[in-house]
Subunit: 199 residues, 2 copies
């Protein structure tokens, strides 16, 4: 079975649920996931698909649903978390650099914990530097490297690849070319990867 | 345990999945659901929450997701079905009259089958009259009664009650005042009704 691509943006609220449960889920089910940060905001704006801004009833429901689902997964979250993020691109440029260097998952989990448990926006200080220090990385070097044209361009390329695949929101899973949108479609994606259908 | 309110609009695409599986689901789990038609379009427009119009990538995904989920439930659907419905209010006024008279669920299931299996838009002819005849009702009497001010007003009242509860989309389930949105939240709603939390 080929690995499943996990497309996400730090900045997506429901992605919190996936990030916090995916490593244990992968171990339990003997699965591999490729963590692929992209800029979901670029695609949402392009497609006139604004999930919560200007929609207070739907936004209030989203926080409530995330809290309930976190309880189901045994996760601790404090909602509403600060939203939307001011520095979504930087947060994901750091994540992409981390995926290249091997500390990406740790950083993403650390920054989501600070965002959803301590109320510190991801991508901004103190979340950014503290998350990096927590996982043993030096913020100065990382932030310089993550804001260089090579990583900016790499995030744009990944965003273009997500768009090409038909990814329009986050989190999404792509299994054998098939797109599954939402933390709640993780089981469906795994079923597709294993059996070519949703069971 | 109090019955769970199933808020829906004929016109909602994902509601097809719920309508087609809910009677068997309710029997299997020993549950009661109140089927409550309302006009979701009124609330979507008010809240600037337009799910698919002008969003072709998301709309294409929605049809694909519905087809996959229908397969999971053992249901037969042909997608895309005609969308959006021209006569959403009439379709739901008929449903509301049917709930009052005791043939509402049969009508809703029949009209969704014709919409999602035969490609006939619900609320329009021939779907409307054929669905009514199929369940032993006379279209002339029903359409006259369903378009009278009493039923028009009753649908507006139900829409107002849905809004008051925080329902912002369809299908939704309301268990003990708690709102769950989406066919994929049915299990969560049942868990809430039984145990006051999502497990």
């Amino acid at each position: 079975m080929k690995p499943i691509d996990f497309w996400f943006s730090i900045g997506s609220t429901y992605t919190c649920l996936t990030v916090m449960r995916l490593p244990a889920y992968a171990r339990k089910h003997g699965l591999a996931f490729n963590w692929r940060p992209f800029n979901v905001r670029t695609i949402l704006v392009e497609q006139n698909n604004i999930p919560f801004a200007g929609k207070p009833v739907k936004a209030a429901y989203m926080w409530r649903d995330i809290a309930r689902r976190a309880g189901r997964y045994g996760l601790s979250v404090t909602v509403p978390a600060p939203y939307p993020l001011e520095h979504l691109p930087l947060a994901n440029q750091v994540a992409l650099l981390g995926m290249q260097e091997g500390w990406g998952q740790e950083y993403v989990m650390a920054t989501y914990r600070r965002w959803f448990q301590d109320g510190q926006p991801a991508g901004s200080e103190p979340n950014l530097s503290q998350s990096l220090r927590e996982i043993g990385q030096k913020p100065e070097r990382i932030i310089e490297a993550a804001t260089a044209p090579a990583i900016e361009g790499a995030l744009a390329n990944e965003t273009e690849e997500a768009r090409r695949l038909g990814v329009f929101g986050a989190p999404s899973f792509v299994a054998d070319g098939e797109v599954f949108w939402g933390d709640d479609r993780l089981d469906d994606a795994v079923s597709w990867a294993r059996k070519g259908r949703v069971i």
